[in-house]
């Protein structure tokens, strides 16, 4: 059994602090935090791919699959347990990612980006044409339960946040170890030099494939959490601009730490919320300027602020 390292203890501490603070926070903040954490989970998948040198403009596919699994599981299978619904999303997503991964992990750079985008847009197209699933409007998620809790009678916003925090913590703890594992480092090695990786006896294909499937599964959890929190799913979850947002947030946070996607997702959600409030017709411009400033002054993302400080201190 490995001992918890400083990062893991910090993650546990922050998760507990957020969960306690949420009990005294207004509903709008609780909802915003839930969405930010859910988005952070999907971005985590994007970061996993970026660490292997791949940029996906199609992570919305898995986000949407997770969301629709929750919606469909409740509506057509009568499942109400949130964990079962999330598990359903993960199983469906992993099955699809295992098929798509065989093809997409053979490609690199723009070809990987465009291929992942294409698959995401295929799902978008299918959902838009599916009148039984509400077409472009999507449909509402049925009331859900979690152990003793029932969203019909309880504070569903708060419970959704608690569930999001718990899942995000578990996934962040897993990824912290994954990034330090041989396969995690092999992904970085593939980004750096594929020729050497092959001569070391590592299968590039197998390593990228495993990484891709895990990233998809995590994206699905983010989608499921969004569906549970928002109570609604629609095809835009698979639209390419949503996938673009995930890439935007990944760049905003950087790939240096498991906490970076969550911090970046929270900043993104807050900036977007306030930008829409301040300039309803020009909020995208504000987001664009923020990204421009990040690329110019923090090319390794917001997390590099912490590592710089640490470097200066040492």
């Amino acid at each position: 059994m490995m001992k918890a390292d400083r990062t893991e203890l910090s993650l546990i501490g922050v998760a507990i602090a957020v969960a306690i603070a949420a009990q005294f926070s207004p509903n709008w903040l609780v909802f915003t935090l839930t969405l930010a954490i859910s988005t952070g989970l999907v971005v985590m998948g994007v970061v996993m791919l970026m660490r292997a040198g791949l940029v996906s403009f199609g992570q919305g596919l898995f986000y949407c699959l997770g969301g629709y699994a929750v919606g469909l599981g409740g509506r057509f299978l009568g499942i109400t347990d949130a964990l079962v619904l999330i598990g359903l999303g993960v199983v469906a997503t992993v099955a699809i990612a295992m098929i798509l991964g065989l093809l997409v992990t053979r490609y690199r750079e723009i070809f990987f980006a465009m291929l992942s985008l294409a698959f995401s847009m295929i799902l978008y197209g299918i959902l838009v044409k599916s009148h039984g699933l509400g077409s472009t409007d999507g449909f509402g998620v049925v009331d859900w339960t979690l152990l003793w809790f029932d969203s019909k009678t309880g504070d569903s916003a708060n419970m959704a946040l608690m569930l999001a925090i718990a899942l995000a913590l578990l996934i962040a703890l897993f990824l912290n170890r994954y990034f330090k594992s041989s396969i995690g480092l092999a992904c970085e090695a593939i980004r750096e030099n594929e020729v050497r990786v092959e001569y070391m006896g590592i299968s590039r294909q197998q390593t990228l494939y495993i990484n891709y499937v895990i990233a998809a599964a995590i994206g699905s959890v983010g989608g499921s959490m969004t569906a549970l929190a928002a109570g609604h799913v629609d095809p835009t979850m698979a639209y390419w601009t949503i996938s673009g947002e995930f890439v935007f947030i990944a760049i905003l946070g950087g790939t240096g730490h498991v906490a970076a996607p969550f911090i970046a997702a929270l900043i993104f959600t807050l900036v977007r919320t306030y930008a829409i409030e301040l300039a309803p017709n020009a909020w995208q411009m504000i987001l664009g300027i923020v990204l421009l400033l990040i690329i110019l002054f923090l090319p390794k993302g917001i997390w590099s602020l912490f590592t710089r400080k640490k470097g200066a201190a040492s």
Binding site: K180, S181, S182, I183, N193, R196, Y199
Partner: protein, 258 residues
């Protein structure tokens, strides 16, 4: 002595260009063989074919008595045949210790166990040992980008050795290294090679290095092996002098096994 590598009729064509033609070579275990030839003579094409980087157009290759033609670098590495590169192939944006740790993890040949932490005490110890053996311990925690060319060459060779090969192909180990560093680098490499009892085939342009470190030489010209034999005999050959080393080069008395 046991035969370890054998090529028969090995050829490679790029359209109308013949990069290698009918190469028949047998290397026995423990030999240190030099490969010489002017630029474009087919030396690297030969190395690339043997190590699975380039598929041959014709001919056969066997390693340890078994055919290996068509196998990729990964499978060949697992059979005990690997290489270093003229331009070191490293993970530039990762620390030196990570470069070595991933090589050590990969050498364990267990894909599933790749999920275990990369830095285990055993791997760190093994990495530190090879850093010391290659005299590059000072770069342990540096990014590869901070290393000079000679140190990068040594790291590249160290990574190849961590795969526990039986045969190592070195592609111009001293290219890009200063005159003063060449012999130190080669002494370090050869010491590590001997400690592991490896068979080595290495491409080299510097005839003094060849004379000092190899026992046998393959001389390439226009994709063909024009002479194969003991170092002094090959370097004294008129055709080799005309096509490879130049007329002015004469084998020195100090030549031969170092």
């Amino acid at each position: 002595m046991t035969e370890i590598l054998k090529t028969e009729g090995l050829s490679r064509y790029f359209g109308a260009v013949t990069a290698a033609e009918n190469i028949n070579v047998t290397i026995t275990e423990g030999e240190i063989v030099g490969v010489i030839g002017s630029n474009g003579a087919g030396k690297t094409t030969f190395i690339n074919m043997v190590t699975g980087y380039l598929p041959p157009s014709k001919g056969s290759i066997s390693f340890d008595g078994k055919p290996i033609k068509g196998l990729g670098p990964r499978k060949l590495m697992r059979k005990g045949l690997t290489r270093s590169f003229q331009i070191p192939q490293l993970f530039l944006e990762l620390p030196v210790i990570d470069n070595l740790s991933i090589a050590l993890a990969a050498a364990e040949h267990k894909q599933f166990q790749m999920l275990r932490p990369v830095h285990t005490p055993e791997r760190l110890k093994a990495a530190e040992e090879i850093l010391e053996q290659m005299h590059i311990t000072e770069y342990r925690d540096e990014m590869v980008t901070a290393m000079p060319q000679g140190a990068r060459k040594l790291l590249d060779i160290a990574i190849a050795m961590l795969g526990k090969p039986r045969m190592l192909l070195l592609d111009e180990p001293t290219s890009g290294v200063s005159m003063e560093e060449k012999y130190t680098l080669m002494d370090t490499v050869m010491e590590a090679v001997r400690a592991r009892g490896l068979t080595v085939l290495f491409v080299e342009h510097d005839m003094e290095i060849v004379q000092r470190y190899v026992t046998r030489v393959l001389a390439f010209a226009s994709g063909v092996v024009i002479k194969d034999g003991p170092v002094d005999e090959v370097l004294a050959d008129e055709k080799v002098q005309e096509l490879v080393t130049g007329k002015q080069h004469k084998p020195t008395a100090s030549g031969g096994d170092a």
